[in-house]
């Protein structure tokens, strides 16, 4: 069934991609307007390789329209850069931001320009409906995810787990795998607990499976409290994996391990663990900091399902327009098209949520499978901590991050942790 669906989608993708490329030459999304001499400024977080790839995408737009696009890298401080420039009255024309919460607050502040009807139609056609919701604030579409990540991948060292290793089919099998590996003296699971966001990603994956997509949406909007029973169930399910004997050095060491170290602990020259969970960008860390090769000894399996549906947690960078010039509109529409995504897809390190992007375009098998899982998952939900007010969902040593760290450190304190988190959430959503 699943195999059939993939084939069908791939075939559809090939056909559609064929259409867009053949149509693309005659009528690319921005070619109906001549924009020669127009200058557009785009701000995003990307630097280095990612910046180079994105500039290739922009080059294509320049070639088609004659506009001149300047790229500004804001780095991790992009939100601060944007808010400063908005206050100063000189925002960039287009911004690509990682936090939907920021899109929300900028939209509420009136800093964003709604997407035009043509772009809206393009997104409806080429993206699954759920993606559109994340760019919508109070019923108006302000943006779309250009670059997505799949946060439901579990990476393992094939050399350590042996040739006859079969990825666990579900959560019980996953726990059983951890148990058998630890029974023979190993500590299989590397957890990067010094960074709270790795732990919130764990929770989100489990919660989406145990509570379902509707509850997930409610919790993200704080329509149900953190003391809700579904949260406790998800935490306790997760707690089966967060056992001290499964983690190298136990709980205290896990809380001292940063994300990059948690990957190196598995794929480094002196491995301490065998399995690490995080998003697709683990592949980047493996390539950069270890001698393992993604696709050969560094492999992944999808996050083990607790229920019976496949689900994926995603994150991503959302394109928004800050000015209403025709050139801005044209660029935003261009970026929404599969044509723009294809350019970066080929260069690697990029996953597009656009369904018309051809899976064959991805440079390697691993990326293709990650993209396939993401685009075709039954349930896709955005990273919950990104949907929350930043004071709750993205502050080092506070809020959601801190709660997960506290739980990893001492699961017996769960009721207290959840009631504290609920109190903080109440205050944070009230300020929003």
């Amino acid at each position: 069934m699943r195999a059939f669906r993939i084939v069908a989608v791939a075939a559809a993708a090939v056909v559609l991609a064929g259409c867009t490329t053949s149509a693309g030459h005659s009528a690319p999304p921005g070619a109906d307007v001549d924009l020669s001499g127009q200058r557009i400024e785009v701000a995003a977080v990307w630097s280095d390789d990612e910046q180079a790839s994105f500039e290739r995408v922009l080059d294509e737009f320049e070639r088609q329209t004659g506009a001149e696009v300047t790229y500004v890298s804001g780095g991790d401080e992009l939100p601060t850069v944007l808010s400063t420039r908005l206050v100063g009255g000189a925002p960039p024309d287009v911004a690509i931001v990682s936090q939907p919460a920021l899109v929300h607050s900028m939209a509420v502040d009136g800093a964003l320009v709604p997407l035009d009807a043509a772009t809206d139609a393009l997104i409806s056609e080429q993206f699954r409906p759920v993606w559109k919701e994340w760019g919508t604030v109070d019923g108006t579409l302000y943006g779309f995810v250009f670059k997505a990540s799949n946060k439901s991948t579990v990476w393992y060292d094939a050399d350590q787990l042996g040739e006859d290793f079969v990825p666990p089919a579900d959560w019980d099998a996953f726990i059983d795998l951890l148990r058998t590996r630890s029974d023979i003296g190993g500590a299989p699971l590397s957890v990067g607990g010094a960074d709270g966001w790795t732990l919130t990603d764990w929770f989100e994956n489990v919660y989406l499976q145990t509570a379902g997509a509707q509850m997930y949406d409610k919790l993200a909007e704080h329509e149900i409290p953190w003391t809700h029973d579904s949260v406790r169930v998800a935490m306790e399910t997760l707690g089966r994996a967060f056992q001290p004997q499964f983690m190298p050095g136990g709980r205290a060491s896990a809380l001292q391990t940063e994300f990059a170290d948690s990957v190196v602990n598995v794929f480094g020259d002196d491995p301490k663990a065998e399995i690490v969970f995080e998003a697709d960008f683990v592949a980047g860390v493996i390539a950069e900091s270890t001698s393992a090769t993604v696709g050969q000894d560094a492999l992944f399996f999808p996050f083990p399902s607790v229920g019976d549906t496949s689900s994926v947690i995603t994150g991503g960078d959302t394109v928004v327009a800050l000015t209403d010039r025709p050139a801005t509109t044209a660029l935003v529409r261009f970026l929404a098209s599969s044509q723009a995504a294809d350019i970066w897809v080929e260069r690697g390190g990029f996953i597009s949520p656009n369904r018309e992007v051809e899976l064959d375009g991805y440079p390697d098998e691993t990326t293709r499978r990650i993209a396939d899982d993401l685009v075709n998952a039954r349930n896709v939900r955005f990273d919950m901590s990104d949907l929350m007010p930043t004071s709750l969902g993205a502050t080092r040593g506070d809020g959601f991050w801190r709660a997960m760290q506290d739980y990893l450190g001492d699961p017996d304190r769960l009721p207290q942790i959840l009631s504290d988190l609920e109190a903080e959430a109440g205050a944070a959503y009230a300020r929003r």
Partner: protein
């Protein structure tokens, strides 16, 4: 009274001191030369403009901003201050700032004083001073990264734990089976101290089977042989075996190819007291000799299974603030030493000589002569360090891992996180924290400025 050399004012007090100097110079010029006030104004204007633009305006704006909400368009009065004083994080930050102010400057001044006095007497004094001063030339962020590594929990990376582990291992022996734990439901439970105790009580002729797990069967000692269930007989008899690596992997069951664990110490307890001991053989069997009738429990003591010592979690919530203070101490000790050494060079030697002639010991000379003579310098160093401590930010941000950041938090860091941290924040609350920090620094700054004025007149 000897004039201590004007210490380099810290960054935050420098403009203030300069401003004080500037206005004073202006006043004197007017009074002494009777020159035109217009000329004075001309010379003053650049300084005044800079002062207004870069100090007065931002300060005033911060004050005003702290009375508005996150977006900056609604007046909320003192709400931000109320939030600041009811927020746990801010209170922890405030508490840590108090710890810093109480501990760090006095510690650094004392160390600087001792170093200055001692180094004065060695031959290569200048070389020593240079080395001691060097940490100050490294940026605080870089120092933070260095100390993050020094205190890393993994003894393969962290220097402190590497030393702790080698010292520990030199004095105590490693356990034969580190990390072994009882098989769940196998009749044994782990105690908090690491020992394992049987859940059930048994009589004097019991036969026990105790499965263990969590150990690689390949690393069992060579002589370990296939596990054999104990035969009933006289005394408590039993089998301690490694319940993994068998042909079938049935948890809690003795499977073919599973081996005994040799050399495990076994204690038979009666009412909490050890009444008999035994050691397992190569096949994992043990026999505790005849026991009188009664209820017994069995314990496998912790020394069989203790995990190797891995050092302390320096960067955990408990120790994080002392650890960061130690890093700051490393950076600032040279600074204090240099200033104090300069002061030392300026104090009259005859007082010390006279004391020595009168028969004072070196300690008495130091305690009763040198320190009192140096006290003006010491006070200036201390106050400068207090100002420096209140704005500590980078060391905390870099050294504390995310899981301990809340415990390590200080006001300057909290202010930054609230205002700008991850995704644009609440600059109203941030401004309120900035004002709070300003109020805390102000007394120290006023004191220092007064001091400079006093020195000059």
């Amino acid at each position: 009274m000897p004039t201590p050399p004007a210490p380099t004012p810290s960054a935050s007090s420098a403009p203030a001191a300069r401003a004080a100097g500037a206005s004073e110079t202006g006043r004197r010029t007017g009074a002494l030369s009777g020159g035109s006030p217009r000329l004075a104004l001309l010379f003053l204007t650049p300084a005044l403009v800079l002062l207004l633009v870069f100090l007065v305006y931002p300060t005033a704006y911060t004050l005003v901003r702290s009375l508005f909400d996150a977006r900056g368009d609604e007046f909320v009065g003192l709400d931000n201050y109320a939030t600041a004083f009811t927020d746990d994080r801010t209170l922890v930050a405030l508490r840590n700032n108090v710890i810093w102010v109480v501990v760090a400057p006095s510690l650094v001044t004392s160390i600087g004083l001792v170093l200055a006095v001692l180094i004065e007497r060695v031959r290569w004094a200048t070389a020593f001073r240079l080395v001691m001063f060097m940490p100050l030339a490294i940026s605080l962020v870089a120092s933070g990264i260095i100390f993050r590594l020094v205190y890393d929990e993994d003894p393969d990376r962290g220097l402190v734990n590497a030393v702790a582990v080698s010292v520990h291992d030199a004095f105590s022996q490693a356990s034969p089976y580190p990390g072994v734990r009882p098989r769940e439901g196998g009749g044994l439970v782990a105690q908090p101290d690491g020992a394992m105790v049987t859940t059930a009580r048994f009589g004097p002729d019991a036969v026990l089977a105790l499965p263990l797990t969590g150990y690689d069967p390949a690393t069992l000692p060579q002589q370990a042989s296939a596990a054999v269930p104990a035969e009933p007989g006289l005394g408590v008899r039993g089998l301690v075996w490694l319940d993994v690596g068998g042909a079938d992997d049935r948890p809690g069951q003795l499977d073919a190819d599973e081996r005994g664990v040799p050399g495990v110490a076994v204690e038979v307890l009666s009412g909490g007291r050890v009444v008999a001991t035994a050691t397992t053989g190569d096949d994992g069997r043990f026999t505790a000799p005849d026991l009188p009738a009664g209820d017994y429990a069995l314990r496998l003591p912790a020394h069989n299974f203790a995990e190797p010592f891995r050092g302390l979690t320096w960067l955990g919530p408990a120790l994080i603030t002392p650890v960061i203070i130690s890093a700051w101490l490393w950076v600032m000790a040279g600074f204090a030493m240099t200033l104090i050494a300069a002061g030392l060079a300026a104090i009259p030697r005859d007082a010390q000589e006279a004391a020595r002639v009168d028969g004072a010991t070196e300690w008495q000379v130091f305690r009763r002569v040198t320190v009192p003579l140096l006290s003006p310098v010491l006070v200036v160093v201390l106050v400068t360090l207090v100002i420096n401590v209140l704005k500590v930010f980078d060391l905390v941000f870099v050294i504390a891992p995310g899981s301990a950041q809340e415990e390590a938090n200080v006001l300057a860091l909290q202010m930054w996180q609230v205002s700008f941290g991850s995704g644009g924040g609440d600059q109203g609350l941030g401004s309120a924290l900035a004002v709070l920090l300003f109020l805390l620094v102000a007394p120290a700054m006023v004191f220092n400025v007064r001091r400079f004025k006093g020195d000059r007149s």
